[in-house]
Assembly symmetry: C2
Homo-oligomer: 197 residues x 2
């Protein structure tokens, strides 16, 4: 409780959070994206879902104070605090081996999809699928007409979000290893979190 | 081949489409949304994925000429023709029992999520999950700042999209039964399709 835990650079970490507890996620260096998932601890087939969250909130950009909804349209987390400018992404899939192959990689590249699976496995769990993540601090502007672009985060070192659990859940996080396009300012690093009462 | 098949009002229909064939989907009455999914016939765990499609296309609004991508970032369909104004939605989850419960329904309401499952079952198949659908003709404007709204379709009677299969696939369609909010202009009706060489 309150112990500062590292999400290793290019790696993932999952943690159990009880209803009422909060996960404080810290953008230690300011320019790091953290792909974030949350699963109902009692039933992993219920999980935070971007397509349901957008429908419930009526926005593509969840903000401080918003509930974050599952595929059963129930709040699983509340974003109680956000010291960053509030730029997070709900639109983009987590990176994966296919993404890096298309970007020209001929050898294995760490990726958020595999990090989700590995972090769940550390808890003895298997995610039933790879939901679209809440990409914390990822800066994907949407232009008039719908065009998206991949930009560097606008957050600063030490920014945090505080996510309050609305049910017992597993929160999985991946410090995005993307180093080819600028979403992590070209320099993927570690981030941190702590679980608070 | 070429037979006009009905997607019944408030119901679903799935069909096998071979690589190279095209599915012509017709908005018979003009104001009907059709939630659309596509699965690789050889491996149902590969399917059209809105979060991967957006990342591949760099837009939230796929247009005539665009490939529609799977969760393995491969084209499964190409939107070869679109006679409508090109307003389709990639953001919103298919409606489900939870959605209608929150809208005040106390009894069962038909929904696109159940229609997907039922239409796959008619082919002896089980979808491995409920991917976010491509909501054909659904009009979800996104305002500057990210706010979304639920509007009536801007298509007209007889508009069609022609989807050319890039692999053997199953295409599942649901004539959205939403009659509480205006996405189907308040009047859910049937649509049609045909499979063409």
């Amino acid at each position: 409780m309150g112990e500062l835990i590292e999400i290793p650079a290019r790696g993932g970490k999952a943690v159990r959070v009880k209803k009422g507890q909060a996960l404080k996620m810290i953008n230690t260096h300011g320019h790091q994206v953290v792909d974030t998932w949350a699963f109902n601890a009692e039933d992993l087939t219920e999980f935070m879902s971007m397509e349901h969250l957008r429908a419930m909130l009526g926005t593509i950009f969840p903000k401080q104070g918003d509930s974050l909804y599952t595929n059963q349209r129930r709040p699983i987390l509340v974003m109680e605090e956000d010291t960053s400018p509030g730029i997070h992404d709900t639109l983009m899939a987590s990176c994966d081996v296919h993404r890096y192959r298309l970007l020209g990689c001929t050898e294995y590249h760490e990726n958020c999809t595999d990090n989700l699976a590995a972090s769940m496995k550390e808890l003895g769990l298997v995610a039933p699928e790879t939901p679209a993540p809440l990409n914390m601090w990822m800066n994907i502007p949407v232009a008039d007409g719908g065009a998206t672009s991949w930009e560097a985060p606008v957050s600063k070192a030490g920014d945090h979000v505080l996510l309050r659990a609305q049910m017992d859940c597993i929160v999985a996080m991946s410090a995005c290893p993307q180093d080819i396009i600028p979403v992590n300012a070209g320099n993927p690093v570690e981030a941190h979190f702590e679980v608070l009462d």
